[in-house]
């Protein structure tokens, strides 16, 4: 590991100032991904600005019924929070289906969003990777890519985003609050992560020096039936081959509101807008759900060895929608 300076920030202002003062710095949250990448040599920061003790560790109910989750709230605490379990259960389930108990105790809300892909070519310095080293090529496109993207990939990158939490946030219409040199701003969670295009080194819309301060769960999805389902190679402690977060409100026999996000299939949580449009106003039925997913997945471009993800994402999402519809109806 390359040596680095260490700065413990006590305030948000101190953190952004320390970051600006040290070219090549990284913010340190729980470190569960960053420290690992530093050991691998993928990340070589000149300085770490430790933001894990910033006063952003609370979960606060806002007057409009939304919930503001501080960026340093640990994944395990967020998953266990009574208001999250009650109001946005898909988020709790998504968090609990990720990583291990040890990692969830260390990982933060902000850090979870900023974790990097687990593409083995990205993590191996001896292999080409446009995300790690722009212009070096993509080893995965014609290589080992069973776990990789089937939607929205580019000739430059076929990596997936590994977070479960981010998939739930995308479906629930959450917002990401940022602060930085140019001030504060808010980005919708479903567009916070990018598609790779010709800049695969950029995972998110975050700008240099910006810091995530909070994630807001909106009142609009509070209390609606929601669920998260994940399929993986083993029963626990593995990344998603495919996953789905769904929030569904049925009123008067038709779908009044639906949010669907797919995980493990793209460079970002894949918000299934075409499926949502097809379902909104329609009577909820298995056939309608299947039709909506077929519309969405008609955009899929599987690689040589990951075509299985298309029917997998279809069937698991249809299953989640069907269960939620049954709960809404009865």
């Amino acid at each position: 590991m390359k040596t680095f300076d260490y700065v413990r920030a006590r305030t948000v202002e101190e953190a952004t100032a320390a970051f600006a003062a040290a070219p090549g710095a990284r913010y340190l949250g729980g470190g569960t991904n960053l420290v690992d990448l530093m050991k691998l040599g993928v990340e070589r920061p000149t300085a770490l600005v430790d933001v894990s003790r910033l006063p952003l560790d609370t979960v606060d109910e806002l007057p409009d019924g939304s919930l503001r989750v501080g960026a340093t709230v640990r994944n395990s605490d967020l998953a266990a929070h009574p208001l999250v379990r009650e109001g946005w259960p898909a988020l709790s389930r998504a968090l609990l289906s990720g990583a291990s108990g040890q990692l969830r105790n260390a990982a933060t809300t902000g850090g979870n969003l900023l974790q990097r892909t687990r593409c083995p070519y990205f993590q191996d310095l001896s292999k080409p990777c446009n995300k790690r080293e722009p212009g070096s090529g993509c080893g995965a496109r014609e290589g080992v890519h069973r776990d990789h993207a089937v939607l929205g990939h580019s000739p430059h990158c076929v990596a997936t985003h590994p977070s479960d939490m981010a998939v739930a946030l995308a479906a629930l219409d959450a917002r990401v609050e940022l602060t930085g040199p140019a001030g504060d701003r808010v980005v919708a969670a479903d567009v916070f992560h990018r598609l790779p295009g010709d800049r695969p080194e950029l995972d998110t819309e975050i700008r240099p020096g910006e810091l995530i301060t909070a994630v807001v769960l909106p009142a609009a999805t509070r209390g609606l039936p929601s669920a998260y389902r994940k399929v993986r190679d083993r029963a626990s402690y593995a990344f998603a081959l495919a996953s789905a977060a769904v929030v569904l409100r049925v009123e008067g026999g038709v779908v009044a509101r639906v949010g669907i996000a797919l995980g493990g299939v793209a460079h970002r949580p894949w918000r299934a807008r075409r499926a949502e449009e097809a379902l909104t106003g329609a009577a909820p039925s298995r056939a309608a759900f299947e039709h909506a997913l077929d519309l969405e997945l008609s955009a899929a471009e599987p690689l040589r060895d990951n075509g299985y993800k298309v029917p997998l994402a279809r069937s698991l999402t249809v299953d989640v929608l069907t269960r939620l519809a049954a709960r809404s109806a009865g």
């Binding site: 590991m1 040596t3 680095f4 300076d5 260490y6 700065v7 413990r8 003062a21 040290a22 340190l28 470190g31 569960t32 420290v35 690992d36 530093m38 050991k39 300085a47 770490l48 430790d50 894990s52 395990s76 998953a79 266990a80 929070h81 009574p82 379990r85 009650e86 259960p89 709790s92 389930r93 609990l96 289906s97 990583a99 291990s100 108990g101 040890q102 990692l103 105790n105 260390a106 029963a235 626990s236 402690y237």
Partner: protein, 174 residues
């Protein structure tokens, strides 16, 4: 700016320690190399096997991924600190012995610290991926075999002693 090493004070198994550590030092190496506490084991060194699990401020974590400089003021408990003040083994240690819940023993310190964390999390009402929707937030979560398996999934045992590890933890569930 700061230098490439830092002065850090942390409490390990009840004893306060002040050390000058290289900023790159992870807690696992600090315990093993600097403090001669070799209970926590280095398995994968990438947070994937759980052999290095210790308790930090009462919560189980992978010590291989924690930078020591970031732990200023923390209380760390390793497997060496689980026994009571009179040397009486922790109930989980006794259960592991009684159930013969290991073969080579390399993962055992991590399994023990992780299980201590599991019991505390369940007592505090933390759910897991297999906890049913009927579980009340804030109420202690009952721990059956399925819950224990899910909650202990961050600790690998290459000898495959899982059935007896689950039984040992079940023995200690209140």
């Amino acid at each position: 700016m700061t230098s490439r090493s830092s002065r850090t004070t942390l409490t390990v198994n009840g004893r306060e320690r002040t050390l000058t550590v290289d900023n790159r030092r992870v807690l696992l190496d600090l315990l093993r190399e600097d403090l001669d506490l070799t209970g926590a084991k280095k398995g994968c060194d990438h947070g994937q096997c759980g052999a290095c699990t210790v308790l930090v401020d009462g919560r189980r974590m992978n010590s291989c991924l924690l930078l020591a400089v970031a732990l200023e003021g923390s209380e760390v408990t390793t497997v060496e600190g689980l026994a009571g003040p009179d040397g009486e083994p922790h109930p989980l240690q006794r259960a592991f012995l009684e159930r013969d819940a290991f073969q080579c023993g390399y993962c055992t310190p991590g399994q023990l610290c992780s299980a201590v964390g599991v019991l505390a999390e369940a007592a505090a009402g933390h759910p897991s991926a297999v906890t049913g929707p009927e579980a009340e937030a804030g109420e202690p979560t009952p721990l059956g075999a399925a819950e224990i398996r899910e909650r202990m999934s961050g600790n690998l045992c290459r000898c495959g002693a899982y059935p007896r590890i689950v039984e040992a933890v079940e023995d200690v569930v209140p």
